[in-house]
């Protein structure tokens, strides 16, 4: 999993980064509300189809089935791609993926590449790699273009610039695209971005997209966007590339249909993405390449609990519902993918070892997920793996054995709690607060009772 490191990002714990994000409470409220609106739209969309829960179950089963027969389906996919005139490449990690992409582009002397939404290329850090080899990379989804211009990584997997307010986008566009100073009207800004992107499409030598699904029995890939930019890209230049993780494979069109029905509904509340394009061969005189990437996924499959995170279809629903993500922002997770699914697939790459604890285990994500990824169980499991590896954050390694012994002893627990209750009743809060850490910093201390329940019971119901 060492290949999954997000360079330089893992320097502070999630709690530290979240605390900084929380200092601007108005922004936290705005961020939380914007994402909650997506959750509400999702609820309306999901409730509009009576078979929603069956679709979730189907989605979960078909992904599990495919993941347990992965070799078979990937081979079938490769064979059918070849029959369709598509060239297939295999990459064991991000570095190999980037080299393959570069080799294809270099052969055709590509100077400019237009790219459409792909978290995988973010995971592999493709952009800086290609740029260091003299190839210009233009991200063409509006949100991705915004953060690319701002030189930031995505903060959400579906709405990557969700952390930026429209005024901030206006300032950015003024500086980079020459829009009017102070303009923040979304329609005006979108039009300006469209015009700018059109030039990029027309002057690009090659196009690259991510893959939402790869259909084994057809040798085809499905790409979903709302702006049609993947299609603009793929249909203009003669060279098209598609990068996919091994987990994107589904057996056939019927199974793709199940996922298409839940993907957009769970992401933004739309019945289906505006453009869901199926690519099953190169243009006339063109070339189509598919790069299939492992990058730690086979390792993940070895662990029965972690393996289920590969059922994910990247709808972003778990991020929108997560009360912690909404209040700590996408950059606090030390990984390209934030939120619950980011913890599930990125915990091992986090050198602060803190992200599995960026969760209250409330379980909302597992219920929201259209393929029933058991996110809370996976996160809990990551904590256990970290503990086993001696990598506990927040001093847990030193104090947990003490807590363990303390809780197992009635005498110790009763004596010290009786002291604590007395202290809480007698000493003024101001004296106690500094000793009670984060609890007293943000909340009033509990009002302590005189004695324990057990004492009351023995006295009043004497056994």
């Amino acid at each position: 999993m060492s290949t999954n490191h997000t360079s330089g990002a893992g320097s502070a714990t999630h709690a530290k980064k979240a605390e900084i994000f929380c200092q601007d409470e108005a922004r936290v409220d705005w961020h939380s509300k914007a994402l909650w609106m997506l959750r509400e739209k999702r609820d309306r969309a999901a409730s509009s189809i009576p078979e929603w829960e069956q679709l979730r179950e189907l989605g979960s089963q078909l992904k599990l089935h495919t993941l347990t027969h992965l070799d078979q389906y990937l081979e079938e996919f490769e064979k059918n791609c070849h029959a369709n005139g598509i060239q297939v490449h295999w990459a064991k990690d991000g570095a190999e993926h980037n080299q393959i992409v570069h080799k294809i582009l270099a052969e055709k002397q590509v100077k400019k590449l237009v790219k459409s939404k792909s978290m995988l290329t973010e995971e592999c850090h493709l952009n800086p790699y290609l740029e260091s080899h003299g190839i210009e990379v233009i991200d063409t989804d509006l949100g991705e273009r915004i953060i690319q211009l701002a030189k930031q990584p995505p903060s959400h997997i579906v709405v990557p610039a969700i952390h930026m307010k429209k005024e901030e986008v206006g300032d950015l566009f003024h500086e980079k695209l020459g829009t009017d100073a102070g303009a923040s009207d979304p329609l005006y800004l979108t039009r300006a971005a469209r015009a700018h992107l059109r030039e990029q499409f027309l002057s690009a030598d090659a196009a690259m997209t991510g893959v939402n699904m790869a259909i084994a029995d057809k040798g085809a890939v499905v790409v979903c966007t709302n702006e049609g930019n993947a299609d603009m890209g793929a249909n203009l230049p003669k060279l098209q590339l598609h990068s996919m993780g091994i987990d994107k494979i589904v057996p056939n069109l019927d199974s793709a249909a199940v996922i298409l029905r839940t993907l957009a509904r769970n992401a933004t509340g739309q019945p289906v993405t505006t453009y869901s394009a199926f690519y099953r061969g190169p243009q006339t005189d063109g070339e189509m390449h598919i790069i299939i990437v492992d990058n730690g996924r086979t390792d993940m499959l070895q662990d029965k609990i972690l393996a289920e995170s590969l059922k994910c279809i990247r709808c972003g629903g778990c991020l929108n519902t997560c009360p912690v993500y909404r209040r700590s922002g996408g950059y606090s997770y030390n990984y390209t993918i934030p939120g619950p699914i980011g913890i599930a697939v990125g915990a091992q790459a986090d050198d602060t070892n803190s992200i599995p604890w960026a969760c209250t285990l409330c379980g909302s994500c597992s219920y929201v997920c259209p393929t029933k990824v058991p996110l809370d169980k996976i996160i809990h499991h990551h904590r256990r793996l970290k503990a086993k590896a001696g990598k506990l954050p927040y001093g847990k390694r030193s104090y947990m054995p003490l807590v363990g012994n303390f809780m197992a002893s009635e005498t110790m627990l009763n004596c010290s709690m009786s002291v604590a209750r007395t202290a809480l009743r007698i000493l003024p809060g101001a004296v106690l607060k500094p000793f009670s850490g984060a609890w007293g910093k943000y909340r009033e201390l509990p009002i302590a009772p005189k004695s324990s329940f057990e004492t009351w019971f023995n006295k009043n119901r004497g056994q």
């Binding site: 009360p323 969760c359 219920y367 990551h382 793996l385 503990a387 927040y394 363990g404 709690m417 943000y442």
Partner: protein, 247 residues
Amino acid sequence: MKIALFIPCLVNQMMPHVGIATVELLEKLGHQVILPKGQTCCGQPMTNSGCFDEAKKTTLKLLNAFKGVECDAIVCPAASCLVAAKENFHEFDTSPEAQAVIDKLYELTEFLHDVAPIKAFNKPFNHKISLQLSCHGIRMLDLATPSEQMGPRTNKVEAVLKAIPSIEIVYPGRHDECCGFGGTFAVDEGAVSAKMGKDKAQAHAETGAKYAVGFDPSCLLHLDGMMRRQKLPIETLHIAEVINAAL
């Protein structure tokens, strides 16, 4: 019925009134209540931190306190601890004796809804209450259908409480969003935990209810600290206290 109480450490040490209300209400309903000795904690603070080795001694101590105790049910007025106890008992002891204990475990609401429903309440509760649907109770014990799930809905908490004369039941906005307690999360992730608690406390207060009522003492303790810090005109009550007051 003969009921053995499972009183988690937090209730025993910091919120005895929840335990007392539980005893009183069960007795009013005609049950015999016993308190098996030697209970400390379910091990949740350790297992939720990933520290299973450290949790073993504590968990088994609790399990042993119930092994061989003659009773019809083991009832706990704390959903999160109940869920943790069930899971941790399974984790550390797979014997039939352990299974016998696990099979008798009920959270208080669950017991009053599924096992021994209350026939009638004697007294009114003349207040508006805002229900706190804490996560583990709804998403792991099915006390209510979580808002993420589609299809038919159940709500055992409301079903039990709404039979109380003149009670008015309302819900905060984002009604089943987590309050941010999360055990050690409240300390490790102080800023986010506090913001979640603040939002939740505010949402309860905005309903105009006099009490925020819930089934999970730990969430209530956290919300209570938040409500007093924010000086909100609302207080927390445990569901046992409301039921006890109406019997």
